[in-house]
Point group: C2
Chain length 349, copies 2
């Protein structure tokens, strides 16, 4: 009775899960040999390998993860941390796409995805406890603000991290970002190409690098087209629909003659659209509109919104790959990757 593996009762019946030891007995080999086979070590003869494989199949053996983690001090799990506030704010499919990419990559590497939505400061601290409890081999961080100390703290704990986006131009922690400057430039270039003269922008909150970068792209685009920048044509939003609406109102008040708007997100573009309709401006006849994200709302807007697409899922995959490399020690130090964006033209300009 003492060597039957762990058991669980199901409707009174006992289901028992075999252990390494039992597989070894069945295959007529030692524990170490079975372990070697399971972990794909080359130091096993072909014959033995086959015998062990047979025993594994016959018993339906699956290694116990907890025991592996304890003995080998690695968990085969990765945490993805998403601040709850952001999950509401952002064009919502963003995080689903990101999760999809991360998940796909981790599945290929046979790693588990631990999803952590962080709501409060208290939960943040609890998250650091999890890390200390050695539940994960590495951490992926989505949507970090400019002054967030978490990435550095995690690194201090000796745990590999990769971020989605960066906190500033000179980000010391490994990250994967999309080309936000390029996004702004592409949008402006397109509007200029359509003959627009007075191009405004609705930006994100200035404490986020992504907002500053898109604004930078907008300014660069204007400069390249020989336009003079005008502060009156820049209004700050906060990545919400309401924010987009009021930013647009203030733009219309200050510069009623504007004929195009680059909104730093589709959601803000939707708000801007509403403000334009209020003011009796037609899109695209009177004012052309471009957003960022190419989210489903862009397709559904009236008229459908031209938008700069980010390769979100690909960012997720890249982050996961970088992190796994870091965990396994095959990583260049502090890598940064910036993925290209792409303008998707629809009827709004």
């Amino acid at each position: 009775m003492s060597d039957e593996g762990s058991t669980a009762s199901v409707n009174g019946r006992q289901i028992s899960r075999p252990t390494l030891e039992q597989v070894a007995a069945r295959a007529g080999v030692g524990r170490g040999t079975v372990s070697r086979v399971i972990n794909g070590s080359p130091r096993v003869s072909e014959q033995t390998r086959a015998a062990v494989a047979r025993a594994v199949a016959e018993l339906g053996y699956v290694p116990n993860q907890a025991a592996r983690a304890l003995a080998g001090s690695r968990t085969d799990a990765i945490a993805l941390v998403i601040p709850e506030a952001e999950a509401r704010l952002f064009a919502e499919p963003y995080f689903l796409d990101l999760i999809r990419g991360v998940s796909a990559e981790l599945a290929e590497a046979d790693k588990q995805l631990l999803l952590t939505l962080v709501r409060t400061e208290q939960e943040r601290q609890r998250f650091e406890q999890y890390l200390a409890a050695q539940r994960v081999d590495g951490v992926l961080l989505a949507s970090v603000h400019g002054d967030d100390p978490l990435p550095d703290r995690i690194r201090e704990l000796g745990i590999p991290v990769v971020m989605n986006g960066r906190r500033s131009e000179a980000e010391p922690v490994p990250y994967v970002d999309s080309d936000n400057i390029g996004a702004g430039r592409a949008a402006v270039a397109h509007l200029v190409g359509r003959g627009r003269q007075r191009i405004a922008t609705v930006t994100g909150p200035p404490d986020m690098y992504v907002a500053r970068a898109r604004l930078g792209g907008y300014l660069a685009g204007l400069a390249e087209a020989g336009h003079t920048p005008d502060e009156g044509l820049v209004a700050a939003g906060d990545f919400t629909e309401d924010g987009g609406r009021s930013a647009m109102r203030s733009l219309l008040e200050r510069r009623p003659e504007l004929d195009a708007v680059f909104a730093a997100s589709d959601v803000m573009a939707a708000g801007a659209r509403a403000a334009l309709r209020e003011a009796g401006r037609r899109v695209p006849e009177d004012v052309a509109l471009v957003g960022v994200d190419d989210s489903p709302v862009a397709r559904l807007m009236d008229p459908p919104l031209t938008s700069v697409r980010q390769p979100i899922e690909e960012m997720g995959r890249t982050m996961a790959r970088m992190l796994l490399d870091d965990v396994s020690g095959t990583l260049e130090d502090t890598p940064k990757r910036v993925l290209p964006t792409e303008l998707v033209v629809r009827e709004s300009c």
Copy 2:
């Protein structure tokens, strides 16, 4: 050197995590006593408890999760399984809301959320391996089709399961669903109240219970209003925008005189909206439209869409709570919970 806890190197420096043993030594008590304090056992004197708490704080002790799982055979982790295909199909925020609810509830109970997106049949099988590896204490299943054997298989493994939605009227596995029949009835009652006479419906795929239930609600609503059902007013979609569009086209062809449509999802309603526009029908003047989900696209449609809201986040919370109860053994057998839906009236009817 042999009793210093596990170590990890960080920039060449060594960070060591204390063990129970070390806390015990520091507090001048035995290992068992520290364990009791950590786990909140009442069988410890107040004085000892305080001494241990101090030692824990001084050393920054955090219990090693792998060791706990191995010795205690529980992982404090729950898996949430989402079929990848569905994640694309559905009104996308659906799963984010669900995740949010689950995550909130698990965080309160100090459990981890393991997110599993299942893409292929192969990944499904790998998931069963994970279960066998005892990585999780229980499983939450989202979006199960009528013939899915997975829920039963998991139960056979002796692992607690709760599903989101059900496979049929007589679902043997614990589940949390929303009142889909009530949703259909509410939509029809509203349309009837607005004087609509020829009310059509675009349904989901008939192999999903949720689709049949909403159709059932539609039929019940008609019956309650004294309307005679007409098969020509029923067209099957597949929960996609395209599906909604072609279903609407066929409805218009068969019953050009229809004056209202109940679409079984917002996404299909968006497709139907497009088909109506094509056909020159105005919404709501010629045809009134109601959807289900109350997703962001409903608000953004033109005109904004009346829709039946499901309490998605609340479903997530309820599922998590039920599962945790099941895991801890404090659960009534095979509980079912059906949460109410709510009509959100906008300009589309």
